[in-house]
């Protein structure tokens, strides 16, 4: 697996453009992207092999005019440097009606660094025909388990190969890495009710997905059966055990968004006032970072050319750090943490989460369940929504299982919406399990846009929270 030939072929043109723009601007950087994705999907009656929606190829030029930032997204950077400079100088302008409103942001640091990064994968070991056959066999195996209740099955494999080139006056970085996902979904009718159940896998290598997917079929069928008998939950405040997926959702929605430091610049995050203070139970430790674990959001440098890190956000219940992109770092006088991410070269970079998780604890899951007289264990992220200013959260789990007298029952509830005030939730954490899983199959928006791939997870948590 080698670095993108396309980006390599444009490296010299990018250098020339930086030199030319350097005469006009206080800071110039170029991010080039070449992302190739492949998606193979089979359902009961149709199949497809397509390039995935993550595919992109283009450049974004980031400039600082001594006061503010200017950016230009283009499909290509050719050898005609003079024409590109003319285009950029004529289109990337501040209208006179806004000129007086322009902010003064310090010029970002441009520390010298030249480095290439490569994370190997095994995608070239498998042909489309092999992967299509695997998906067909998975679909047939699922259908064979229960022809009476299954209305449809979807089995899919996707891979993404990411190549990025970052150049500025003093930095020249390139990286190449990938990520693979597999999933299976059944549409099921039983008990006069229709339900959908799913299993997702995400790994660096396809082999692990192909090895593990067959073991997901029985849990998938069992889950669909139980969901068909699931009842609505009686709204109320309960003792709850979260599975690692819901733990990750809490980390992400409850606190992750609130420490994205571009929100600090805009006075949009309550967390800004709580650095150095207790925001969670003293047994809580939370991290984020593209270098913190190997998962869906693991890269070597971010879209600002800042190296990936492992940032500890909460240490023993105390908020210690936020997540910062280059622009916010310049505005705040802070250090960028490698969290500057763009949806694509066509979009702006923001402070974004990567792999976000709680550290594991010392409790046994069975002891945690045994400690609950009446409550629920919640499973599988459906969706969530942040509110960093006012610390309200909403996290939706696909299902819960009732706990009575310290034992999991067969009583499923679905869906389950968990809501409340973030510090109340985090300070209610009373037990943390000694296991740890990060799920690498998620994506996250900022508000309702700017979608990037993320992972989250951790151990199981015991919390007290409102369910509806």
């Amino acid at each position: 697996m080698a670095f993108s030939q396309f980006l390599e072929s444009r490296r010299a043109a990018c250098r020339a453009l930086i030199r030319a723009l350097d005469r006009h601007f206080a800071y110039v950087s170029i991010l080039g992207t070449d992302v190739r994705a492949n998606r193979i999907m089979v359902n009961k009656n149709t199949s497809s092999i397509t390039e995935g929606g993550d595919c992109e190829s283009g450049f974004v030029i980031k400039l600082h005019n001594g006061k503010a930032f200017l950016e230009c997204s283009l499909d290509d950077i050719t050898d005609d440097t003079d024409a590109l400079v003319r285009h950029i100088l004529s289109t990337v302008t501040v209208p006179s009606a806004l000129a007086e409103q322009t902010i003064s942001v310090p010029i970002p640091a441009d520390e010298p660094l030249t480095q290439s990064f490569l994370r190997e994968n095994d995608y070239d070991d498998y042909s489309d025909a092999q992967l299509l056959q695997f998906c067909r066999e998975t679909k047939d195996e699922i259908l064979a388990r229960d022809s009476e209740h299954i209305l449809n099955v979807v089995s899919a494999i996707s891979t993404m190969r990411v190549n990025k080139l970052f150049l500025s006056k003093n930095r020249e970085l390139d990286q190449s890495y990938g990520w693979a996902n597999g999933f299976a979904v059944v549409v099921w009718r039983e008990n006069d009710k229709m339900v959908s159940a799913r299993e997702f896998l995400g790994y660096n290598d396809l082999k692990t997905i192909l090895d593990e997917m067959p073991s997901k079929i029985s849990p998938l069928i069992d889950k669909a059966h139980h969901l068909a008998y699931a009842k609505p939950i009686t709204p109320g405040v309960y003792d709850v055990i979260t599975d690692p997926s819901i733990t990750g959702l809490i980390a992400h929605e409850a606190f992750g968004h609130g420490v994205e430091m571009d929100q600090f610049v805009k006075d949009r995050a309550l967390a800004k006032q709580y650095v150095g203070q207790y925001v969670a139970s003293p047994i809580c430790n939370m991290h984020d970072g593209a270098a913190a674990v190997l998962s869906a959001a693991s890269y070597f440098f971010d879209d600002d050319g800042v190296l990936a890190q492992d940032t500890q956000i909460i240490k023993d219940g105390i908020l210690v750090n936020g997540l910062c992109d280059l622009t916010a770092a310049a505005e705040l006088g802070a250090t960028a943490t490698g969290n500057g991410r763009r949806e694509s070269y066509k979009r702006k970079a923001y402070s974004r989460m990567t792999n976000t998780f709680f550290e594991k604890g010392t409790d046994k899951l069975e002891d945690m369940i045994a400690s609950i007289k009446h409550g629920y264990m919640l499973f599988e992220t459906n969706n969530g929504m942040e509110d960093p200013k006012n610390w309200q959260i909403q996290c939706t789990a696909e299902h819960g299982i009732e706990i009575i007298d310290g034992k999991l029952t067969e009583n499923y509830v679905s869906p389950v919406v968990m809501s409340g005030y973030v510090p109340d939730l985090l300070k209610s954490i009373s037990m943390i399990s000694d296991d740890f899983i990060v799920y690498g199959s998620g994506s996250c928006g900022k508000g309702y846009k700017e979608w990037v791939r993320v992972s989250d997870g951790g151990p199981a948590l015991k919390v007290k929270v409102k369910l509806a």
Partner: protein, 425 residues
């Protein structure tokens, strides 16, 4: 040099048919911190998606790939050849592509009359005119102006182009008191640079955030009708419509079918939903879909019963149904509820949610409410820290639809609706 993709596709004898979707986007974007301009962005990009169709034996296969500005002729030939091989592995039921229609259309817009950068400044300043309250401010705002040109052509004589403009404001109205600072989220999409309308929309949100500042968690939860506004009604109506999409029906993932009653024991207004190509006030409107099919308005729900399906060319043929195209707008008929009738009883008006949670399979409607007004005898009490929860089927059977219509991005219908059977928790 621009590639002659049509010629390259015709050169490959393995290609039975093809479709090319080329979307060119120009944008001007302005990002503000409080009222200060922090970043200006421009984009000038093209995304070209090519689908190759191969008829083989009793099957039709297809495979899609992207062509970039930087793609060379040799790379394009190679991608076409690879797509042919992939399509040969796909064993889908036969269908035909739409044929022999051409169109060149530009949707008139005030955004075409001046440079986008100038208009962006006007839009921003129109929004900031609502930033005029002593305790209120817009803490952050992003302005996006887009010109998009979509060109769809296929090997069977479809050749259609549509050029249109739209804009989006993402604004964060904030209210500060000595005790706390609160905010709401506003995403406003529009197709005309109507500065007075922009100021009015942001001002409405400023007034709401002032209410959020005064809102308290109630000690006793209100027990009364729950009223949802057009944003949530659009979510509900589209969720119902999605069940009747040919793709859902063909995949057996639709929760109900033609002939089924969505409202079992109607004790309010009946639901009538028509999917439309274009609708006044809806900037998602279009006259053709991603296959180049001319869109046909389709009534899908009448008197609370599903009466028709809708959707794209391929699945229409699989199901033996009319080809309506993927319709982008939805019209929900207004009902009988006047503002005066609504005010006769106490009600709980949901103003801002984290996001309405709907699960049509589990018959669930609910979600966290960031701001609501409890209204009784004309007195408005703002509330927060609450949720709503109920059975979707009960809610639909009891719905009373406002007689006032409003338009959103892809929704035209009642401005609000009152529901029994949804509980405030």
């Amino acid at each position: 040099m621009k590639l002659d993709l049509v010629q390259l596709l015709r050169e490959n004898t393995g290609v039975t048919d093809f479709r090319i979707i080329e979307k060119q986007t120009e944008s001007y974007e302005a990002f503000f911190v409080h009222r200060s301009l922090e970043t200006v962005r421009t984009t000038d990009t093209t995304r070209t998606n090519v689908t190759v169709y191969v008829d083989h034996g009793e099957f039709k296969g297809d495979s899609s790939f992207l062509i970039y500005a930087s793609t060379t002729e040799e790379e394009a030939r190679q991608k076409i050849a690879q797509a042919v091989e992939k399509a040969k592995m796909i064993e889908n039921q036969h269908y035909t592509l739409p044929e022999n229609e051409t169109l060149e259309r530009t949707i008139a817009s005030g955004f075409s009359e001046l440079p986008l950068s100038v208009l962006a400044a006007r839009v921003a300043n129109a929004a900031f005119r609502a930033d005029c309250y002593e305790n209120g401010s817009i803490n952050a705002m992003e302005v996006f102006l887009y010109k998009t040109r979509t060109h769809i052509l296929n090997s069977r004589g479809i050749d259609k182009t549509e050029t249109k403009y739209h804009a989006m404001i993402e604004a964060i109205p904030t209210w500060n008191t000595a005790e706390e600072s609160v905010e709401l989220y506003e995403q406003y999409v529009f197709a005309e640079p109507d500065e007075a309308e922009i100021t009015a929309e942001i001002d409405r949100k400023m007034k709401e955030v002032a209410y959020r500042s005064a809102a308290k968690k109630p000690e006793v939860m209100p027990s009364c009708r729950v009223v949802l506004q057009s944003e949530e009604l659009a979510t509900i109506a589209w969720e119902l419509a999605d069940q009747l999409h040919y793709g859902s029906v063909y995949a057996h993932s639709n929760a109900f079918s033609k002939g089924d009653a969505l409202q079992k024991e109607i004790c309010g207004d009946v639901l009538n939903i028509t999917l439309k190509s274009e609708q006044a006030g809806c900037c998602d409107g279009a006259v053709f879909d991603g296959d180049g099919v001319t869109l046909q308005d389709t009534e899908i729900i009448r008197d609370g019963k599903a009466i028709a399906y809708y959707g794209s060319n391929r699945f229409a043929q699989y199901l033996g149904e009319p080809i309506t195209g993927d319709l982008p707008c939805l019209a929900l008929d207004c009902g009988s509820l006047t503002d005066e009738a609504l005010a006769e009883q106490p009600y709980f008006l949901v103003v801002s949610m984290s996001g309405l949670q709907l699960d049509i399979y589990s018959d669930y409607i609910g979600g966290e409410v960031r701001l609501a007004y409890y209204v009784e005898n004309g007195t408005v009490t703002p509330m927060t820290g609450i949720s709503i929860s109920g059975k979707l089927s009960d809610a639909l059977s009891s719905v009373r639809l406002s007689n006032r219509a409003t338009a959103r991005r892809s929704y035209y219908g009642p401005a609000l609706a009152a529901f029994d059977g949804i509980t405030v928790v």
